[in-house]
C-alpha cells in the first residue's frame, strides 16, 4: 500500500511509490482506514456498490458531494489517477510500442545508472483528509503526468520494458509482473551498499570529469535546497499578506457607514482593496503552480544525482579492488582477468551513459529553471498591471473624475514644498501621474522638476536603511 516510503533510487515505477493498486476487487485489503472517520464513512464502507460507482467516476466533485470532509478510500483514488492519466498519455506517446531486442541487456544498466526523474513526493501532511483535496489531486496528477512524460522523452528509458508494461497492462497484470522482477528491497539494498562503500572512502581512480560533476552536484544541491526554502517562505509571507489584506477592505466599508460626504470614497477604496486581494490570490496560485513544484523537483533531482554518482563510483571501486587483488596475486589469474574485463566494460558503459545523460540533464535543468522563473516574473507583471488598472479605474477616481484628479494634482504640485508637508500629495508620484506614458528611466524632465528630484528631502539625521541581505557567513540568510 502506500505505506512504502519515497524511493529515491532509480528503480522503475512498478516498485516505486504511488504505484497503482489492484482494482477494488479486494477492497478489504486495499483500503487504509482514514485518520478522521466521521460516521458517514462507515456507512460507505459497508456499501461496496457505492464505492465501485465512485471509484469509476473521475469527477471528484460528485464524490465529495456526500460529505466534503469524508476521505474516500485510497484505492478508489488511485483508480482516478489512472483514469485521468491515460487519456492524456495516450495522445503523446509515439514510440512506446517499439520493443527493442537489446532491451534486456541494457535494462540492468539502466536500473543502476541512468538518471531517472524524481517521482512526485508523497504528500506528508497532518490529516489524511487533505490528501484527497481537489487541489492536491490535481497537482499530483500533473506531477505524475510530467513524470511519465519525462521517461517517455528520455532516449533510453523510453524503451524500457517495464515502462511499456506499466502503461499498457491492466491492473491485475501489473501486480503479477511486479512480482517477477527483483524485489524492491533487494534493489534498495544495492543502493545502500553503494552509499556505504562511498562513505568508507572515495574512489581512487575517479576520472576528473566525475569529480567535477560531484562538486557541481554538491553545490547545486545546496543552492537548490536554499531556493526551495526561499520560495516556500515567499509563498508563506504572501499568504499572510493576503490574510491581512482580507481584513483591510471591510474596515473602510465599516467606516463609510459613519460618514456622509466621504462615504463613497471610502467604499471605493474598500472595493479596490478587495479586488487587489483577488489579484494577490491569483499571483500566489501562479507561484505555487509554476515555481514551487519545479524547484522541488530539482531538489529531488539533486539527491538522485548524488546517488547516481555514488553508484558509478561503486562500480569503479569494484573494478579497482579486483585489479588490486590481481596485482597482489591473491587469486586465480585467468578467472580474475575475465571478471576484470567484464567490469571494465561495465565501467566504461556506465561512464558514457552518465556523461551523455549529464549534458541532457543540464540542458533540461536550464530550460526548466528559466521557464519557471520567467513565468513567475510574467505573473508578477500581470499582477501589477492588474492592480494599477483596479485602482485607476476604481470608484475613487471615477467618481472624482480622472481629469479632475489630474487637475487637482497639478494645482497641488505648484506649491512645490521644499520639505514634505502634510496633506500634500507626494511630489514624485504626482510627477509620475503627469507623465503616465513614460516608463521608468528615460523620462524627460523639465528643468524645474529636475531640481525637485535633486532636492528630495532627506534629513541627514535619518540613517540609510540598507537592505539586510549582505553576504555574511555561509548560512546567514535573512528571513529564513
Amino acid at each position: 500500500m502506500e505505506a512504502e516510503g519515497r524511493v529515491p533510487g532509480p528503480t522503475l515505477p512498478p516498485a516505486g511509490g504511488g504505484g497503482p493498486e489492484p482494482l477494488a476487487g479486494s477492497p478489504g485489503v486495499a483500503r487504509a482506514p482514514p485518520l478522521t472517520a466521521p460516521a458517514e464513512v462507515l456507512e460507505f464502507d459497508d456499501e461496496e456498490d457505492d464505492l465501485e460507482v465512485f471509484s469509476k467516476d473521475p469527477s471528484l466533485a460528485e464524490a465529495n458531494s456526500f460529505s466534503p470532509s469524508m476521505p474516500i478510500s485510497p484505492s478508489s483514488m488511485i483508480n482516478q489517477y489512472k483514469f485521468e492519466d491515460e487519456p492524456e498519455l495516450k495522445d503523446l506517446f509515439i514510440t512506446v510500442d517499439d520493443p527493442e531486442s537489446h532491451i534486456t541487456a541494457i535494462e540492468t544498466f539502466i536500473t543502476y545508472r541512468v538518471v531517472t526523474k524524481p517521482l512526485p513526493e508523497k504528500f506528508v501532511m497532518k490529516g489524511m483528509v487533505e490528501r484527497f483535496s481537489d487541489e492536491f489531486i490535481e497537482t499530483r496528477r500533473k506531477a505524475l503526468h510530467k513524470f511519465l512524460n519525462r521517461i517517455a522523452d528520455h532516449p533510453t528509458l523510453t524503451f524500457n520494458e517495464d515502462f511499456k508494461i506499466f502503461l499498457t497492462a491492466q491492473a491485475w497484470e501489473l501486480s503479477s509482473h511486479k512480482k517477477q522482477g527483483p524485489g524492491l528491497l533487494s534493489r534498495m539494498g544495492q543502493t545502500v551498499r553503494a552509499v556505504a562503500s562511498s562513505v568508507r572512502g572515495g574512489v581512487k581512480n575517479r576520472p576528473e570529469m566525475f569529480t567535477e560533476m560531484n562538486d557541481y552536484v554538491e553545490t547545486f544541491s545546496h543552492k537548490i535546497n536554499v531556493l526551495d526554502k526561499i520560495a516556500h517562505r515567499i509563498y508563506k509571507e504572501e499568504r499572510e499578506y493576503f490574510n491581512e489584506m482580507k481584513e483591510y477592505g471591510p474596515i473602510h466599508t465599516l467606516w463609510s457607514a459613519s460618514e456622509e460626504d466621504i462615504a463613497d470614497s471610502l467604499k471605493g477604496v474598500a472595493s479596490c482593496i478587495d479586488k487587489c486581494c483577488k489579484a494577490t490570490e491569483k499571483r500566489m496560485a501562479g507561484l505555487s503552480e509554476n515555481l514551487l513544484p519545479i524547484i522541488h523537483e530539482y531538489v529531488l533531482y539533486s539527491e538522485i544525482l548524488m546517488g547516481v554518482l555514488k553508484r558509478r563510483d561503486q562500480i569503479q571501486s569494484e573494478l579497482d579492488s579486483k585489479v588490486d587483488a590481481l596485482a597482489n596475486k591473491k587469486a586465480d589469474k585467468d578467472l580474475f582477468s575475465e571478471e576484470i574485463g567484464k567490469l571494465e566494460d561495465k565501467v566504461e558503459c556506465a561512464n558514457n551513459a552518465l556523461k551523455a545523460d549529464w549534458d541532457r540533464w543540464k540542458q533540461n535543468m536550464q530550460y526548466d529553471m528559466r521557464s519557471a522563473f520567467t513565468s513567475v516574473a510574467d505573473n508578477n507583471l500581470r499582477y501589477y498591471e492588474e492592480v494599477i488598472g483596479i485602482v485607476f479605474h476604481g470608484p475613487l477616481f471615477v467618481a472624482f473624475g480622472h481629469f479632475t484628479t489630474f487637475w487637482l494634482l497639478v494645482t497641488v504640485t505648484e506649491k512645490k514644498p521644499q520639505k514634505r508637508q502634510m496633506n500634500y500629495l507626494p511630489w514624485h508620484t504626482v510627477e509620475w501621474l503627469l507623465n503616465p506614458e513614460e516608463g521608468r528611466g528615460g523620462r524627460e524632465k523639465s528643468p524645474e522638476q529636475k531640481n525637485e528630484s535633486d532636492q528630495k528631502p532627506h534629513e541627514t539625521s535619518v540613517e540609510e536603511r540598507k537592505p539586510v541581505v549582505t553576504p555574511m557567513g555561509t548560512d546567514s540568510y535573512k528571513w529564513l
Binding site: T219, F220, K223, L227, I230, R233, I234, E237, E238, E240, Y241, E244, M245, E247, Y248, I251, L254, W255, S258, D261, I262, L266, G268, V269, Q363, N364, Q366, Y367, R370, A377, D378, N380, L381, Y384, E385, V387, I388, G394, L396, F397, L408, R420, M422, N423, L425, P426, T429, W432, L433, G439, R440, E459, V462, R465, P467, V468, V469, Y477, K478, W479
Partner: protein, 423 residues
C-alpha cells in the same frame, strides 16, 4: 479665513536637534528641540525677503500651548498634536522617541499643528499663540500667568456631568457618538495597516535572499551564469524598494492619525457642552427648590417632606421673626439665582452657537482632507506598482538572455511577450 495669521506669516518647523539638559528635578535628560522659523509674507514682490525669525521649542512647550488653547477656547475643535509616543508601529519602525524617522515625522506633525492653528479664524488671533511663535524667553511664565490651569474643568466633574445631564442638545450627543466611532474605526484601520505593511515588508525582503543564492549559484554555471547574476541583482533592487514604499505609507498613516486625535478634540467640545448644560440644569433645579422653600415658609404649609418640616414638628415652630429673616435670605438668593440662571442660559446658547459653527467648519475640513488623503493613498499604490512593475521586465529579461542554450523543447514565446512589454 480672511485675516488669519497663516496668510500673513510663513511658519515652518525646519529642524530638530537632540539636546541634553537638566529637568525640574535637576536630573540629566535628553530631549529633542525643534526650530520654529517665521517670516512675514510680503505681498508678491521679487526677491524681497524679510528676515527670518527663529526660536527653539520642545515638545512639552507645544503641549502647554495646546492645553492653554483647550481651556481658553472650549468651543473650538482644537487641532491635535502629533503623537507623544510612536503608536501603531509595525516591525520596522522603532518605538523609540529618539529614532530619527520618528523625530522627522514628528517635526512634520508639529509644523502641521502650527499651520492649522494659524489658519483657524479664531485661534490665530490669540496672543499667547503669537508669542509662542515669536518670543523666545519668558513665554512659559507668560502662559502660566494667565492662570488657565485654574480654569480647567476637572475630569471628575466632566464625567459626572456626562452621566447626569438630562437634556443636552441632540446634535452634540450625535456628534459625540460620531467621535467615538471615528476613533474606533481609524484605530482599527491603522492597526490592520501596520500588519499589512509588516507582511508586505516580509515578502519583499525574502526576495532579497534570491539575490544571494543566484549569485552563488552563478559561480558553478557556465551558460546560465550571467543571467543568474543579473537576475540576482534585480532581486536585490526589488527587495530594497520596499523601504521607500513604506516610508511613503507612513505619511498617509500620519494623516489618518491626525483625524484620530481630532476625534478626541471633538469629544472634548461635546463634553464641555454637557458640562455647561448640566450646570444649567443644576442651577435651575436649585432655584426651583429655593422658590419652593420660600413659598413653604411664606404660607406655612409643608407640601413635601423636608427637614424643616420634621424639625418644626419636633421642636416646635420657629418665631415669625426667624421666619421673616429666612424668607429674606431666600429671596435674595432667588434673585441671585435667577440672574445666574439667565446668564448661564445665555452662555450655554452662545456656546452652542459658536461651537456648532466651528464644528461645521471642521466637518468641511475633515471631508476635504480625508478625501485628499484617500486619493493620495490610491496614487501611492499605483506608484508602488509601477515601480515594482518596472523591475519585473528586467528580471524577466535576465532569464531569457540569449547566452543560454536552448533546450530540446520548443522555444518559449519569449519574443512576443518581450514586444508587449516594451511598447
Amino acid at each position: 479665513m480672511e485675516d488669519c495669521l497663516a496668510k500673513k506669516m510663513e511658519i515652518t518647523v525646519s529642524e530638530a536637534e537632540k539636546r541634553t539638559g537638566r529637568n525640574a528635578m535637576n536630573m540629566q535628560e535628553t530631549y529633542t528641540a525643534y526650530l520654529i522659523e517665521t517670516r512675514a509674507i510680503e505681498s508678491q514682490n521679487e526677491g524681497q525677503c524679510s528676515p527670518v525669525d527663529s526660536l527653539w521649542r520642545r515638545y512639552s512647550e507645544f503641549e502647554l500651548l495646546r492645553n492653554y488653547l483647550l481651556v481658553t477656547y472650549p468651543h473650538i475643535v482644537v487641532p491635535p498634536l502629533p503623537e507623544k509616543r510612536a503608536d501603531f508601529v509595525w516591525h520596522k519602525l522603532s518605538a523609540d522617541n529618539m529614532d530619527p524617522d520618528f523625530v522627522e515625522r514628528r517635526r512634520i506633525g508639529l509644523e502641521n499643528f502650527l499651520l492649522r492653528v494659524a489658519s483657524h479664524p479664531v485661534l490665530c488671533q490669540d496672543k499667547v499663540f503669537y508669542s509662542f511663535l515669536t518670543q523666545e524667553g519668558g513665554w512659559k511664565e507668560m502662559v502660566n500667568e494667565t492662570g488657565f490651569q485654574l480654569k480647567a474643568d476637572s475630569r471628575l466633574k466632566a464625567l459626572n456631568a456626562t452621566f447626569r445631564v438630562k437634556n443636552p442638545d441632540k446634535r452634540f450627543t450625535e456628534l459625540k457618538h460620531y467621535g467615538d466611532e471615528l476613533q474606533s474605526v481609524i484605530s482599527h484601520l491603522l492597526r490592520v495597516r501596520a500588519r499589512v505593511a509588516d507582511r508586505l515588508y516580509g515578502v519583499y525582503k525574502v526576495h532579497g535572499n534570491y539575490g544571494r543564492v543566484f549569485s552563488e549559484w552563478s559561480a558553478i554555471e557556465k551558460e546560465m551564469g550571467d543571467g543568474l547574476q543579473s537576475a540576482g541583482h534585480h532581486m536585490d533592487v526589488y527587495a530594497a524598494s520596499i523601504d521607500d514604499i513604506l516610508e511613503e505609507e507612513e505619511h498617509y498613516a500620519d494623516q489618518l492619525k491626525e483625524y484620530l486625535f481630532y476625534a478626541e478634540a471633538l469629544r472634548a467640545v461635546c463634553r464641555k457642552h454637557e458640562l455647561m448644560q448640566y450646570d444649567l440644569e443644576m442651577a435651575a433645579q436649585d432655584l426651583t427648590s429655593k422658590k419652593q422653600q420660600c413659598e413653604e415658609l411664606a404660607t406655612g404649609t409643608v407640601r413635601t417632606f423636608s427637614l424643616k418640616g420634621m424639625t418644626s414638628k419636633l421642636f416646635g415652630q420657629e418665631t415669625p421673626e426667624q421666619r421673616e429673616a429666612k424668607i429674606k435670605v431666600l429671596e435674595e438668593q432667588i434673585q441671585e439665582g435667577e440672574e445666574q440662571l439667565k446668564s448661564k442660559n445665555l452662555e450655554g446658547r452662545d456656546f452652542v452657537k459658536s461651537a456648532w459653527a466651528d464644528i461645521e467648519r471642521f466637518k468641511e475640513q475633515k471631508n476635504h482632507d480625508l478625501k485628499e488623503a484617500l486619493i493620495s493613498y490610491a496614487v501611492m499604490q499605483i506608484s508602488m506598482c509601477k515601480k515594482s512593475h518596472g523591475l519585473s521586465p528586467g528580471i524577466r529579461q535576465q532569464w531569457l538572455r540569449g547566452a543560454w542554450c536552448w533546450g530540446p523543447k520548443e522555444e518559449l514565446q519569449g519574443s512576443a511577450d518581450e514586444q508587449r512589454l516594451h511598447t
